[in-house]
Symmetry: C2
Subunit: 190 residues, 2 copies
């Protein structure tokens, strides 16, 4: 089982800039990647990190020549647990899609990768559903609160502080990021 | 099996006001309630609607004298499905908590309600975990993307439009609310 993890090494996570400096954002991104990679490893899956530049071209090249199942998983899912990975890769369906907030695809599992083509960016969840349908592939939506939490914005950090148990949550706490109730709502402050 | 559904009849969902008029917000809230009640009914559970005013006092009065299990479920969970309800009420644990975004508790299942006390508002998810621990009750976190989607803000409507199949999603589409890609992000527009 091969897992592909797209990752932006430099200058990513710009929407966290209201709270974190560029080097802190890089550090957090690296911690999240480590959380994802170690969760994959717990589930017996090896991770290949690829650059997220020209993601669709890169991934479609890889899957076109893949004879074995492929798991594509985002690097910013610090709440993911090994049970999620095990459940997804043991699904019977040709394609398993796990949605993120705002129409994203946080995990895509392809039993026969060469039969599919990926279309990330935008509302990729709906696009991937359509591609599976067009290609006559059986499909499962794997819906999970934890898998659905990709960390892009300051509000997302609240989820990491509330539910996180890994390196990314620990790092965030170590630099003094914490939760605060303001007007009946949870906010992230520093 | 009794389900209690707290509901604000008038003037709720004020954070949707950038997009919806007061009467539209009421209509949407009613559609969401109907989606929740019909999902409960599919799972064989009768719903009692209670006012959300002084919620903790109201609920703690009810559960103090409940000899049977109680399911407390929010009225703004339009993506909920009967499988969720069935899985939650068949759990072996004393307490099942399903988190919402921002530290909320979207569903709380109490096998022995009189042994518990609820503490909604604020970071109720963490508070409820602590209460279960303090009272020596066994606990399960039931995490679900769909159960976790409570609709409070304009951005939440995107989830309803992307994943919704019930009355609330239908209503939203009928008044011309739709999705739009702006700067690589999904936005709700009208």
């Amino acid at each position: 089982m091969k897992a592909i993890v797209p990752y932006k090494k430099k200058g990513g996570k710009s929407r966290l800039s209201p709270l974190l400096s560029p080097s802190e954002r890089e550090e957090l991104a690296e911690c999240m990647l480590e959380d994802v990679v170690s969760t994959l490893s717990e589930a017996g899956v090896d991770a290949s990190i690829v650059s997220d530049e020209g993601l669709n071209v890169v991934l479609n090249k890889i899957i076109a020549k893949s004879a074995e199942p492929v798991l594509i998983i985002m690097a910013d899912l610090p709440l993911i647990r090994s049970e999620h990975i095990r459940e997804i890769i043991s699904s019977k369906e040709d394609v398993v899609i796990s949605p993120g907030r705002g129409g994203g695809t946080n995990i895509l599992f392809l039993r026969d990768p060469s039969a599919f083509r990926v279309d990330y960016y935008g509302m990729s969840f709906l696009d991937h559903l359509q591609i599976a349908k067009d290609k006559g592939l059986s499909l499962k939506v794997y819906e999970s609160f934890y898998v659905g939490c990709d960390v892009d914005e300051v509000d997302d950090l609240a989820e990491l502080l509330i539910h996180g148990k890994g390196k990314a949550a620990e790092y965030l706490r170590s630099i003094g990021v914490s939760l605060q109730m303001t007007g009946g709502r949870v906010r992230v402050k520093r």
